[in-house]
Symmetry: C2
Amino acid sequence: MAPPISPLAPDSFPHLPPLAGVRLATFASGLRYKGRTDLLLAELAPGTSMAGVYTRSLASSAPVDWCRKAGAKGKAQALVVNSGNANAFTGRQGDEAVGATVKAAAGLIGCKETEVFVSSTGTIGVPLPYEKITAALPKAALNLKADAWLDAAKAIMTTDTYPKLASRRVRIGDATVTINGIAKGSGMIAPDMATMLAYVFTDAKLPAPILQSLLTRGADKSFNAITVDSDTSTSDTLILFATGQAQHPRITHTNDPKLKDFRAGLDAVLLELAHLVVRDGEGATKFVEITVSGAASAKAAKRIGLSVANSPLMKTAIAGEDANWGRVVMAVGKAGEKADRDRLTIRIGGFDVACNGAAVPGYDETPVANHMKGQNVKFEIDVGVGKGRFTVWTCDLTHGYIDINGSYRT
Amino acid sequence: MAPPISPLAPDSFPHLPPLAGVRLATFASGLRYKGRTDLLLAELAPGTSMAGVYTRSLASSAPVDWCRKAGAKGKAQALVVNSGNANAFTGRQGDEAVGATVKAAAGLIGCKETEVFVSSTGTIGVPLPYEKITAALPKAALNLKADAWLDAAKAIMTTDTYPKLASRRVRIGDATVTINGIAKGSGMIAPDMATMLAYVFTDAKLPAPILQSLLTRGADKSFNAITVDSDTSTSDTLILFATGQAQHPRITHTNDPKLKDFRAGLDAVLLELAHLVVRDGEGATKFVEITVSGAASAKAAKRIGLSVANSPLMKTAIAGEDANWGRVVMAVGKAGEKADRDRLTIRIGGFDVACNGAAVPGYDETPVANHMKGQNVKFEIDVGVGKGRFTVWTCDLTHGYIDINGSYRT
């Protein structure tokens, strides 16, 4: 039985425009699910450059290992993603499955094997019946089209309750450039990396090293600033593909001022996708933003923010609509980063709750309690030691999370 | 309404024998709870030495700060513990409350203020109405007696569903020595420190530095090897008091072979108390032991073990009686310690589940599924890179945890 759609889901999905150099196809290969698509094939124009950010798990899956290796060349012509089976912890069989899939896709598209990127998401530890994928690929290829973004986002879903898409139009010089992104993920979401799978496509013409720099920086503030349950997947993958079809001035370095708008657009797509993942957090009923300021550094602020965001006691209090700022203090304290207990200040929903290490005199809980009842909850925490600042996002921890994860495989 | 007693509670509580040099009294001071005791006063014979291990939270409570400072002298004559209010994040008022309590107890017992140790547990951020404590202390002192261990364990409870006690009789030379311990804690339990409050008393005659060495080592394998929810309290305190009333040969260094039996007894009391805390984990239905071997070091093994023990996906799978070893792989991978994915071996309940980086050929889930249905669940994980070994304990994550923590203050 599919779980109900997250109450934090957006009202509608953006319609992503076609993007020169990208064609998409989806297919129901029958890997695990019945009556839905589970395979995405993306065909990318020759000359497409790419960059990737992957899980930091030391038990990374065979597809992740492959993408890391193939990605060193920075060139792409195909992407193959399956849902239902993560092909993780599958030993040598995992590498064989990747090899067979890559070979099949390269033959079909007519490109080098190192230009084929693969991802798998779903159950860990079960050998991937890759013959179903290699058999499905030629059939899927018959349906490649420019206008299948929503289908693509749907095909890569696992426990997601809605597809995740984002798009921006930006300028590089006088040219208009499109950035389209899709993502999936709703559990096992934590830095680093956060969302299990996300793919961003652009028709910009940018060399791989510039893409890598833009993507790494953007991921740090988006996918690596979200957490649902502190658990890091073996399969987390974020890839940025640039087909180079747009006609814009040549860009030769990352700090070219002509990239300003592109960078902002890319960051916006990454952040929107990351937020969509949190909003689909398993069992989530609240979208929570936590900004930490006054820390020793941005890195320290991030670590404090994630300590708060990952605290089960914080997350259950938020689920219970309880403005329990004592638990904020606890979570700040356990983060292991410098904080001045006697200068600690906490605001919830814009209201001062605690100031200089104690409850605000005459603290009126009413407006704060009202804020906690909403779907969007905001914490601002100043730890009073420096200028470091960082924002992270998470969701609450509810009975729904337990329901979903106490019986995932059964 | 009090939650039902944990299904993992022991069938009965041990009767702790009187211990020369310790008298106990409890009292209902009305700090927060109605109709139950919330104050413990322990009177210790002159000459009692002590050692402490405290929370590593950087937002430690006023009582913890006091114990750290007073404990530098290593002498004790009184312990005052209240439940219902943690006196944490209470600013200058917190220090004042500690000061007034210490002064009152020192006057009552007739000792130095630095010989009085205080702890508070309960809600964070609410000023402690210490006048209730100072008013109650003289009344409590009228009832000091040697045989009130169960009452003492009950007075310090908060969300605990049962009192926690452990005792051992050991030999130092020809003399019999008693070690009695009480503890409280069931949520906000994670290294370091784990249980919020634990006090161990012995009639052994040991100088403070030796006590400290024994306690630090013992805590590392017990209280600092358990986790309920990864959250670290601002108030965690473990103190060992030695009244020196037993007649045994003089001990002058920690490695004296005559201490062997005492060390084993102390370790056993600490471990038993730590296990009792996990068994009372909020909402717990399973007691989980996780042994990691083959790690680069014992420290690495511990970090991997805690990564598994703290993973919400692991804990919900265990609640769902799901032998989901894929999540074990995930949690090992995210720990950030060296592990050889292709030599990783996982046993559940003594049965091989995964071996050398993949599922065991012909894996029969039946006996493993049966093991998962029991109250005691065991994981053995070998990460295949070295000789480091460590065992940690935790419980599952259930609807009960959400119920308890989504409405704690209301």
